[in-house]
């Protein structure tokens, strides 16, 4: 019951956040001295044509009217129409989000497995080889630019060795699976299309490694620090004194307590990946949300910017909510 009221409260706060975000983004996009219609019509278009199109799009109305038009649309679930693609923003987001979601899930899974494993090993075998290795791995992961790792991996595994495809989500001549979720790996399994499954999985490997690696690096560092902290505590010594096996002490007693800050990082990482990873998407020709939003920013396609930002805000709020629920599950004190 307490959890339910907590969730309701959080959802209400989320609405306030979304309203704040929409006002902020609207104001910023209107303050910038740029002309999205002019940019979209191109440099050759004469002034009259630009002004005429602005009139037809209602962009010559007072700002406050434009804002109310936008907000009333928003309440009806209409994010407006992208100036650039001339399509409903909702449709654009729905088209690009599954690719982002698929990559975010696989990269997060990889980063959790790799990060937590390395973090634990490095805390348990502190100052041993595995610890040094893990620390170098983490520093490289957080400091190497994503586009550089991406290009290197592409050069090695695609160009030199020919083991993996050179970008995209599916090979050109592979029949795509029936669309259920938009996640190609899942859809190809559901439709029993094993050729597409193999192919989609192969396409997922490199971008997952690139994104998962840098995320795993931060997770490993946090896990290590948190584990070291917990391992020093009295209840661990008590557990050891009681004669409980090393593995049990580490996995049941220490890890569970050490995971709380790690969950925060995982939540933030996943949230961040869900808004799209523009560099990775660009290098691996991944048709995700990141490129959509960044390109909207470049031409100041403000309905797309607003829609994209609101969507990202919703995602972040939801991920944070889930993180809080996981906290409660991990740590009974939080439920009080």
């Amino acid at each position: 019951m307490k959890l339910a009221s907590f969730i309701v409260k959080r959802l209400f706060l989320m609405l306030l956040v979304l309203f704040g975000v929409s006002v902020l983004v609207f104001v910023i996009s209107k303050v910038i001295p740029a002309d999205p219609v002019g940019a979209i019509l191109g440099g050759n278009a004469p002034v009259e044509l630009v002004e005429d199109l602005k009139r037809r799009l209602g962009l010559d109305k007072p700002l406050i009217n434009q804002f109310f038009d936008y907000m009333s649309g928003l309440l009806k679930g209409d994010l407006g129409r992208s100036l650039k693609t001339n399509r409903p923003v909702v449709k654009d987001i729905a088209e690009f989000f599954p690719a982002t979601l698929e990559l975010a899930i696989s990269a997060t899974l990889l980063s959790i497995v790799l990060g937590i494993l390395l973090g634990i090993l490095s805390a348990v075998y502190r100052n041993k080889f595995i610890d040094h290795f893990s620390r170098v791995f983490s520093i490289l992961g957080v400091s190497m630019p994503v586009f550089w790792i991406g290009l290197l991996l592409l050069l090695l595994f695609y160009f030199r060795l020919g083991w993996l495809p050179g970008g995209g989500r599916l090979s050109l001549f592979v029949t795509p699976p029936t669309k259920y979720t938009g996640l190609l790996v899942l859809d190809s399994l559901l439709s029993g299309n094993m050729e597409a499954f193999k192919d989609a999985l192969a396409h997922l490997v490199l971008p997952t490694v690139v994104l998962g690696y840098s995320a795993a690096a931060s997770i490993a560092r946090i896990t290590r620090a948190s584990m070291l902290d917990v391992l020093r505590q009295d209840f661990i010594r008590t557990a050891k004194a009681k004669g409980i096996g090393k593995r049990l002490v580490i996995y049941r007693h220490a890890l569970r307590n050490a995971l709380i800050p790690v969950v925060t990082i995982i939540g933030l990482t996943f949230g961040g990946l869900l808004e799209g990873a523009v560099l990775t998407e660009t290098i691996f020709s991944w048709p995700g949300l990141g490129r959509y939003i960044v390109n909207a920013l470049l031409v100041l396609d403000y309905p797309a910017i607003m829609g994209g930002t609101l969507f990202v805000a919703v995602i972040y709020s939801l991920v944070n909510l889930v993180v809080d629920i996981v906290y409660a599950a991990l740590d009974p004190r939080m439920r009080i």
Binding site: L41, K84, S285, L298
Partner: protein, 524 residues
């Protein structure tokens, strides 16, 4: 750990199975971010326009004839024009069909042309230049019978009219099909945004556009000239140039559409066995413009000083890696009426002297705006250094195109580096924007209200006699080159990395960025 490694290697080996592209299919890797729409009445971007041109035939077609881009008959087998150049009659070929087999008649042509005016997006101003508007279209665009279309234009040189009505914007759409798919009176705009199935009569049909993934075109079995050599063309979205370059070298794609100047230069030198570099002079130009309504630029001697201060060779050699040719004229080399005029060479002493005569012996400070692309950034740096040598301090402001064009259209800039993509292959397409302020284009944006130049551009555009027309353009070019506030930096050379399995690309790309002919491409 070892088991895991072996398993990973096994999975990777199983996954590795990539073949060359099929013989009847052309695969292009390109950044498709520029694709906004494939509707002929709306599309205005270079590469998408090439796709639209492949999907929609028009009354005429732009074709290189003896190296000169010329409008030639396509769906119209012939035409007649009144002596004053205002009444046009186009006679359609017999038995024309859209890709779905529907007959193509004069009604479809009339509908398509009026549709451009009614939708009134980017290409509309070109039709309006001909004197055709949404208000007068009932009287100026009509069908005399099922085979004959009448256009009533302003008095203009024939080449202008015949070029503007060619695709992309002059592409003929299937009236019946488009109206059947109309939503909220949009004249089928939403429907035609991403496909042309049954809607066009061009050599190819756009069957699918999966945004940020690929665009697929298939040969039109009903194309009046017969099926083109390639069955299928796939444009695969690959936004990163390096990835494109790797894909074409590996043979997974046949063409890398957007390689960098560095990659092109490397290809020019290394000459690998499986791919080649293909180049063609671009139908555009790169220029610096000065707003003559602003401070020191009001004095013609300052404009001239800057023309002498620029190191044209450095920009062509270092920034463009020789993928550009010196052309200080507003017209591309080889256009009707073109005369070779390259009078300016870097001469610091002369530039300083001109500045001193104008009353600026110690130079002045100016804001130089340009867009954020790498080439423009580098050009701005060279220009800044050149101007510094004659005492002018140029402060570079890089801005996204949305911001830059707003400033430019409001005459709010002092100095700008920009480019102009040519809309139709006639000197008029350049003379008017660069010399005639009355049409509120580039001359107007730079406040160059010069009636002599504007009159010459107008007169030459309306002149029906070729010899007289060429003479008018000669006079205009000779006047413009010294008097105008434009410094033409170069005419770019466009390049692609092309697989050696691809035949005819050199012919197909002739005339790009204005036109591109996919029907000339086949594969070994």
């Amino acid at each position: 750990m070892k088991k895991l490694l072996v398993l990973t290697l096994l999975v990777l080996t199983l996954l590795a199975a990539y073949a060359k592209t099929p013989k009847d299919t052309l695969v292009i890797a390109a950044n498709t971010e520029i694709f906004i729409t494939l509707d002929p009445a709306v599309c205005y971007e270079t590469f998408p326009a090439a796709v639209v041109t492949a999907a929609y035939s028009g009354l005429t077609k732009i074709e290189p004839v003896n190296g000169v881009l010329t409008p030639v008959p396509e769906l119209a087998e012939r035409w007649e024009v009144s002596p004053d150049g205002t009444v046009w009659k186009f006679y359609l070929r017999k038995g024309l069909k859209f890709s779905n087999g529907d007959p193509l008649t004069a009604e479809d042509v009339v509908f398509s042309f009026r549709r451009v005016l009614k939708i009134r997006k980017s290409p509309a101003w070109l039709f309006e230049e001909l004197g055709l508007t949404a208000e007068n279209m009932e009287q100026t665009i009509y069908a005399e019978d099922a085979q004959t279309v009448v256009l009533k234009t302003k008095p203009l040189a024939a080449n202008i009219v015949l070029s503007i009505i060619a695709p992309p914007w002059g592409g003929i759409v299937n009236k019946k099909l488009v109206l059947a798919n109309e939503v909220n009176g949009d004249l089928g705009e939403a429907y035609l945004t991403d496909k042309s199935i049954g809607a066009g009569a061009g050599p190819y049909v756009v069957t699918e556009w999966k945004r940020r993934e690929m665009i697929t075109m298939e040969a039109n079995p009903n194309y009046w000239r017969g099926q083109p050599p390639l069955k299928k063309i796939i444009i695969r979205d690959v936004p990163e140039e390096t990835t494109q370059f790797l894909l074409v070298q590996k043979g997974d794609v046949d063409i890398a559409w957007n390689i960098t100047t560095e990659q092109a230069a490397r290809l020019r030198e290394s000459k690998p066995s499986n791919i080649r570099l293909v180049t063609t002079p671009g139908q555009s130009n790169e220029y610096i413009a000065m707003n003559v309504g602003w401070g020191p630029f009001k004095d013609e001697r300052v404009l001239l000083a800057i023309k002498y201060a620029i190191d044209y060779d450095a920009i062509i050699n270092s920034v463009m890696r020789d993928f550009a040719v010196l052309n200080q004229n507003f017209m591309p080399i080889g256009y009707f009426g073109y005369i070779e005029l390259n009078p300016f060479k870097r001469d610091v002493a002369k530039a300083k002297q001109l500045l001193a005569e104008a009353g600026y012996p110690n130079g002045f400070e100016v804001e130089l705006i340009t867009s954020t692309t790498e080439i423009r950034r580098n050009e701005a740096v060279v220009v800044q250094a050149n101007l510094a040598e004659i005492g002018i301090k140029a402060n570079i402001s890089l801005m996204p195109s949305g911001e830059m064009f707003k400033k430019y259209r409001q005459q709010g800039h002092q100095m700008i580096i920009a480019g102009w993509g040519i809309d139709y292959p006639d000197p008029d397409a350049l003379a008017k924007p660069f010399a005639n302020y009355r049409i509120k284009q580039l001359a107007w944006r730079n406040m160059w209200y010069d009636d002599y130049a504007a009159d010459l551009a107008e007169k030459a555009g309306a002149e029906q006699d070729s010899a007289k027309r060429a003479q008018l353009y000669k006079e205009l070019q000779e006047y413009w080159i010294y008097k105008s506030p434009f410094v033409m930096l170069y005419q770019p050379v466009i390049f692609w990395a092309v697989s050696n399995d691809v035949v005819g690309f050199e012919k197909a790309c002739e005339g790009y960025t204005l036109t591109f002919d996919f029907t000339k491409i086949s594969k070994k």
